[in-house]
């Protein structure tokens, strides 16, 4: 994928930041520190975005244009999975770029130079696209939030009807475990994502939560359910694992 930017990486013993050592010997890459030297493009972005008045405004316009291009590329890349058409996709891209620009300007002081500045900014706009797609799910939801149809489970995991005798007991045991070992919130998350097929980011939007919290809840639910199924002899033993 293009030229090699970094010859190797090292981890700073003090702050745990991974340092990327430049492949270019002229770039001073032989003495890694946890304050990596900015590449010229990144340095120019930071300089122009911290300039005054007209120069800063021009840099913001350029950054917005860049973010919009990335947002459009991302919604196009995901369009096959979405129930959105051209104008709606472009609307998502515009909102994502605008909100990413606000977030970037608010957090620009947090940029540590451990990647190119543009890569750091792209991350914001990719996250904004994810968030907006998650919210968009509820404009025309294909499932009800509180539905609980266990007949969907075999399809979700490719359990073949012809082999129902083999898996019926396992599914019944899983259903019982969901009822007995999960907390109410874990159960809600499991049912929404696993049974109803609600995208995780859509559930985040619906519950007013964040992705990490919902993922952690599902992670804990998975761990508890598997432990229960192992204890009852439906699955092989595995070492206990935690997030």
């Amino acid at each position: 994928m293009g030229r090699t930017l970094f010859a190797e990486t090292k981890r700073c013993g003090l702050c745990r930041i991974v340092i990327m050592v430049s492949a270019d010997p002229d770039a001073g890459g032989t003495r890694p520190s946890c304050a990596p030297t900015l590449d010229p493009d990144s340095a120019e972005w930071l300089r122009s975005l911290s300039a005054t008045d007209r120069e800063r405004d021009a840099a913001l316009v350029r950054l917005h244009d860049l973010l919009l291009r990335i947002a459009r590329g991302e919604v196009h890349r995901r369009s096959g999975q979405l129930r959105l058409s051209g104008p709606e996709l472009d609307d998502v891209a515009h909102h994502a770029a605008a909100d990413a620009l606000v977030a970037i300007t608010a957090k620009i002081g947090q940029f540590r130079g451990d990647s190119r500045f543009t890569t750091w900014t792209y991350k914001f706009v990719i996250f904004e696209v994810s968030t907006k797609i998650g919210r968009h799910f509820w404009r025309n939801p294909s499932v009800a939030m509180n539905a609980e149809d266990w007949d969907r489970l075999p399809d979700r995991f490719g359990l073949e009807p012809a082999r129902e005798l083999e898996w019926r007991e396992l599914v019944a045991a899983l259903h019982q475990a969901v009822d007995e070992v999960l907390t109410e919130r874990q159960r809600q998350v499991f049912v929404a994502i696993v049974l109803n097929g609600v995208p995780l980011d859509a559930l985040v939007a619906e519950l007013g939560s964040n992705r990490n919290a919902i993922y952690k809840m599902l992670f804990d639910a998975r761990r508890k359910l598997r432990a229960e199924l192992v204890a009852k002899g439906y699955m092989d033993t595995e070492p206990e694992r935690r997030l």
């Binding site: 994928m1 293009g2 090699t4 930017l5 970094f6 190797e8 990486t9 981890r11 991974v18 990327m20 990335i70 590329g73 991302e74 890349r77 995901r78 451990d114 990647s115 190119r116 543009t118 890569t119 750091w120 792209y122 991350k123 990719i126 996250f127 696209v129 994810s130 075999p154 995991f157 490719g158 359990l159 073949e160 082999r163 083999e166 898996w167 396992l170 899983l174 696993v194 995208p199 995780l200 980011d201 964040n210 992705r211 990490n212 993922y215 952690k216 992670f219 998975r222 761990r223 359910l225 598997r226 199924l229 699955m235 595995e238 070492p239 694992r241 935690r242 997030l243």
Partner: protein, 73 residues
């Protein structure tokens, strides 16, 4: 596809999985390592474990990697 094993795989959790917050915090660094053909998973095994298990974060990773590749960085 053996559905039983698919369900088993879904229920398995990885102790190295760092979760969404940490993975997203470092995603720009991880992506640049991947784009540079460096051993991103070796340096960040917890992020690699997370991206294997979390569909939304994996989608963001793919999107960011595509953005970096498409922009020539």
């Amino acid at each position: 596809m053996n559905g039983w094993s698919a369900l088993d795989r879904f229920l398995q959790t990885d102790p190295e999985d760092v979760g969404c917050e940490q993975a997203m915090e470092m995603l720009h660094i991880y992506v640049e390592l991947v784009a540079a053909d460096a051993d991103a998973a070796g340096h960040y095994p917890g992020i690699a474990a997370h991206l294997r298990a979390c569909g939304p974060c994996a989608e963001d990773f793919e999107g960011l990697l595509a953005a970096v590749a498409g922009s020539g960085t």
